[in-house]
């Protein structure tokens, strides 16, 4: 089972802290604008994940991918929500179809510029 967001954040922060003391709970919390006790509870899974904005700030500070952290928090970033809302059925179908494809096949899905007759 994949790690929860809290566990993941703690592990990543501790990893960085091993070589840089600025990655204490207190200092990370200060940089991303959260209360240290709140961040500590998030890490222990005692609080639900914070807002998208806070997750993005944490991702930036911990040099993690914001989309990965948002997915772990069970959230979909605002820009993706807008993409889905534009064509909800089509995007849902597409994602279901992609479910079992290997990464290299998904990477081939970049849209091609169509060449016609000229």
């Amino acid at each position: 089972m994949p790690a929860s967001l809290g566990e993941h954040l703690r592990r990543r922060r501790e990893e960085l802290r091993a070589s840089d003391p600025r990655y204490s709970v207190r200092q990370v919390a200060a940089r991303v604008g959260l209360e240290p006790s709140y961040l500590s509870k998030i890490e222990r899974g005692e609080q639900p994940p914070p807002s998208e904005e806070s997750i993005r700030a944490l991702a930036k500070d911990l040099r993690e991918d914001p989309d990965v952290l948002l997915a772990m928090a069970g959230k979909i970033s605002g820009d993706l929500q807008r993409i889905i809302l534009k064509r909800p059925q089509l995007v849902a179908e597409l994602l279901r179809d992609l479910k079992n494809l290997p990464d290299h096949a998904v990477l081939r899905l970049v849209r091609e510029v169509r060449d016609g007759n000229w």
Partner: protein, 344 residues
């Protein structure tokens, strides 16, 4: 295949080599004066927006859908240049080489001949990346080009109309051929790490709209010093069996919003204002490359300003000469930090 990324055409030939990737940007720039002087290279002011023609099927002319490809907005008498960048290959002395054909209104921009698919070497009808870092216009004589300048199709200015008498195609046509894998491995064996890259700064500009009419074609503008380099490889080094091509439609900026719902970029500054602001022009040297002769056909065409004067048409706009006291010299093998950008 060709994809769109960050307003650039991205050609990739993964079946030939994983690093066989070429990025072509259409850079906004100022129009150089058309006053018989040979100007240095003007700056890049950021990319024109590029969109899939298919996405606006209901609002574009039907024959554009037949062409497929992409579209970008240009104001009347606005200029552009093509920025050709191969992907860095850390273990080779060169990015993957490509032969690139460029035509406007299906008239070859290098030879002035009518478009036919494929490569020819006498006269050479293609550019070679990475030897040629950019293309600013029509090759009219050795070391001199006339700038690509957009004019509404049907008004007689475009190279297509001057050369063929017809306003049929407009736009820009691009075809790319990768080097054969075997030739690449032989010419550029795996070596120490060499990085060749140049940074691109993109200027975001305030947006506005203005001007009339729809499809645009490119016409010859002022004269500029730029060499079109001969092919340093052999014609048989190019893989003619694998090629990608793209039709780039030029939409009058005044119609861009109606077609796409997006605002086009603003008009660039005049060359005179740009120079007065103390901003730089550029020259590029590659002593090791052999410049190609210009095309007699293209040399015989009339420039936008000259033709405007003959027709008594003032729509090409102002043509104030510019002094160019600040010229930045760039040399072959552009390094990170070597840019061709000016602010305004």
């Amino acid at each position: 295949m060709i994809g769109l990324a960050d307003d650039a055409l991205c050609f990739s030939f993964a079946e030939v080599h994983p690093g066989a990737r070429l990025r072509i940007e259409f850079q906004r720039t100022l129009r150089i004066p058309d006053d018989y002087r040979d100007y240095p290279l003007p700056p890049g002011l950021g990319c024109f927006p590029l969109r899939h023609t298919d996405d606006f099927a209901a609002r574009v002319p039907r024959h554009w859908l037949e062409h497929g490809g992409v579209m970008l907005p240009m104001y009347q008498a606005e200029a552009l240049w093509l920025n050709l960048t191969g992907e860095d290959l850390e273990d080779r002395d060169s990015s993957y080489p490509f032969a690139i054909r460029v035509a406007t209104g299906k008239v070859d921009a290098v030879t002035g001949k009518a478009w036919v698919n494929g490569l020819e070497d006498d006269p050479q009808n293609y550019l070679v990346s990475p030897t040629q870092p950019w293309l600013d216009g029509y090759c009219v004589q050795r070391g001199v080009i006339r700038q690509f300048v957009a004019m509404p199709l049907g008004r007689g200015y475009s190279v297509e109309e001057q050369a063929t008498g017809r306003a049929e195609h407009g736009g820009i046509q691009i075809q790319v051929f990768p080097m054969k894998r075997e030739a690449f491995e032989r010419r550029f064996p795996v070596r120490s790490r060499v990085r060749r890259r140049f940074d691109r700064m993109v200027f975001s500009k305030e947006l506005q709209c203005g001007g009339p009419s729809a499809a645009m074609g490119l016409a010859p503008g002022g004269r500029m010093r730029q060499e079109i380099y001969g092919d340093p490889f052999e014609l048989e080094d190019w893989d003619l069996t694998r090629t990608s091509r793209c039709f780039v439609h030029l939409v009058n900026s005044a119609m861009w919003k109606a077609m796409t719902g997006e605002l086009p970029p603003t008009t660039p500054p005049s060359a005179a204002d740009y120079s007065r602001a103390g901003l730089p022009w550029f020259d590029y040297y590659d002593e090791s490359a052999k410049p190609a002769d210009g095309s007699a056909v293209l040399r015989g065409l009339k420039s936008v300003f000259r033709l405007g004067e003959e027709k008594g048409d003032h729509s090409p706009g102002e043509n104030e000469g510019a002094f160019t006291p600040r010229v930045v010299n760039l040399r072959r093998g552009l390094r990170p930090g070597q840019v061709r950008e000016g602010g305004f």
